[in-house]
């Protein structure tokens, strides 16, 4: 077995993919981070203090992890869902009773979304209470605030999609709040968001596009900036 592994990690195919052997020495461990697309986000060495569970509580990483879970379950849900007033609710019922594991899929997405809002908020609290917003990380805190707002908007736009009473009136309450912005600006924002004066077909399509394309893409962009800056400022 050992001999086989040794042969395997020396083979041309393995080397063409990983460029180094198994991470058994500090040199190959460093290479494992350095030459890996996913791990190159991290430095090859980190402070022992900053990877303690009880320092970060893993909250930033968990937010990113939840985002991955939500993208995967969300993509699967998109296969069964049509954003139209006629179809949306029936598709929810199909997910519940017809699609294999449809209810489970929807549960994962729903609870994951709630958890994400809470965990991103907790992450923000952790960063505040450890004073991790101080220079040179001021602007990354601002990027974090933007990501928090995007998380809430993602959760909120997804809230309308089931097109049940909970969704319809939850969104109506929210968009009525937007209308309170003075000088007619609120009316305009609400009109752009809903594609009309009330929550209807246009609103459903707009929330769908925001939820499945515009907001996730913005989130990925800002996450990229966030992680890149964490790394540049000497974090993990």
């Amino acid at each position: 077995m050992r001999a086989f592994l040794k042969e395997l990690t020396r083979s041309q195919v393995w080397r063409s993919i990983f460029r180094h052997g198994l991470p058994l020495s500090n040199r190959t461990r460093a290479e494992a981070v350095f030459y890996n697309f996913f791990l190159h986000l991290h430095p090859t060495k980190v402070r022992k203090r900053s990877i303690k569970y009880t320092y970060t509580w893993g909250l930033g990483g968990l937010s990113a992890g939840l985002f991955i879970v939500l993208v995967l379950t969300g993509a699967l849900l998109m296969l069964y869902y049509r954003p139209s007033v006629q179809q949306a609710y029936n598709d929810m019922k199909d997910l519940q009773f017809v699609v294999s594991s449809g209810q489970f899929l929807r549960n994962m997405h729903r609870w994951g979304a709630h958890a994400m809002v809470a965990i991103v908020f907790l992450h923000m609290m952790r960063v505040f209470y450890t004073g991790s917003y101080r220079p040179p990380k001021e602007f990354n805190w601002v990027v974090g605030v933007v990501l928090f707002v995007i998380s809430i908007l993602l959760s909120y736009t997804g809230y309308l999609l089931p097109w049940d009473q909970l969704a319809y009136w939850g969104i109506s309450v929210g968009t009525n709040m937007v209308r309170a912005v003075p000088f007619g600006i609120g009316e305009n924002i609400s009109f752009v968001l809903l594609g009309g004066h009330a929550v209807g077909e246009n609103a459903l399509v707009r929330f769908y596009v925001l939820h499945c394309f515009i907001l996730p893409v913005s989130a990925v962009l800002f996450m990229g900036i966030h992680f890149w800056r964490v790394r540049k400022d000497g974090g993990v």
Binding site: H42, G58, I152, Q165, M177, V236
Partner: protein, 232 residues
């Protein structure tokens, strides 16, 4: 003690090309060695990340097996549920809407909160993080009591007891170290908290209280209902 270097004052680039400072003392031009203990990312960090992610997925999957996501009757614009509640993370705001005019609760306060969050790292007082009572104890006391009184009067005028009670509680905790000077223990620890810490803690408590009231204690017509009777 003399400085180890002095700045080159001549700004003529021809006479002093690329020279910024003379090093006089025995300061070597090298980065100070960090006394922080370092570990390899592989395996220490990567394994921790993998464990955290897997535990999270297991917890989420278990929750999803036990609890079903809610799905009510199909949307009916003609039938308003009573009460019509927003998602839980907006119930703090909806609770504010119950007390203040819509412009204040729905626009001014949320905007102020986001702006305040953005501004945190740009105030020197938030960067230094010195204890609230470290200097000018008298002035601090007057400013604190004055500011809190104004806030309390506004809250009383609008009958926002849900914010008034936590505000008075936090103010009490802030004032404790002023009147009871201790070297060790909880009061001493409170005394070392900076102003920023107090403001954020006050904000978090208010958010939690308002959201909890919105989720658990509000029923038809946004009236007060006890959660053990019914949760709407």
């Amino acid at each position: 003690m003399t400085a180890d270097f002095r700045l080159e004052k001549n700004s003529d680039a021809k006479k002093v090309p690329r020279r910024l400072a003379f090093i006089k003392g025995r300061t070597a031009a090298r980065v100070k060695k960090s006394d922080e203990e370092m570990v390899m990312t592989v395996p220490h960090l990567v394994v921790r990340e993998a464990i955290a992610f897997m535990v999270m997925v297991i917890v989420l999957a278990t929750l999803s097996l036990v609890f079903n996501a809610p799905l009510e009757w199909v949307a009916n614009p003609g039938h308003t549920p009573n009460p019509a509640k927003a998602p839980w993370y907006f119930l703090g705001l909806q609770e504010l809407l119950h007390y203040f005019p819509p412009v204040v609760a729905g626009v001014v306060l949320p905007t102020l909160v986001v702006l305040a969050l953005v501004a945190i790292p740009y105030f020197q007082v938030n960067v230094k993080l010195e204890g609230l009572w470290k200097e000018n104890r008298r002035v601090t006391l007057l400013a604190l009591v004055g500011g809190a009184s104004v806030l309390a009067i506004v809250l009383l005028a609008y009958k926002v007891y849900a914010m008034l009670v936590p505000t008075v509680f936090v103010l009490g905790c802030m004032l404790l170290p002023y009147f009871l000077r201790r070297e060790t223990g909880v009061i001493a620890w409170l005394g070392r908290r900076p102003l920023t810490w107090w403001i954020m803690t006050w904000f978090v408590i208010i958010v939690l209280v308002l959201t909890a009231i919105g989720i658990l204690f509000r029923g038809p017509e946004w009236s007060w209902t006890w959660p053990w009777k019914e949760i709407y």
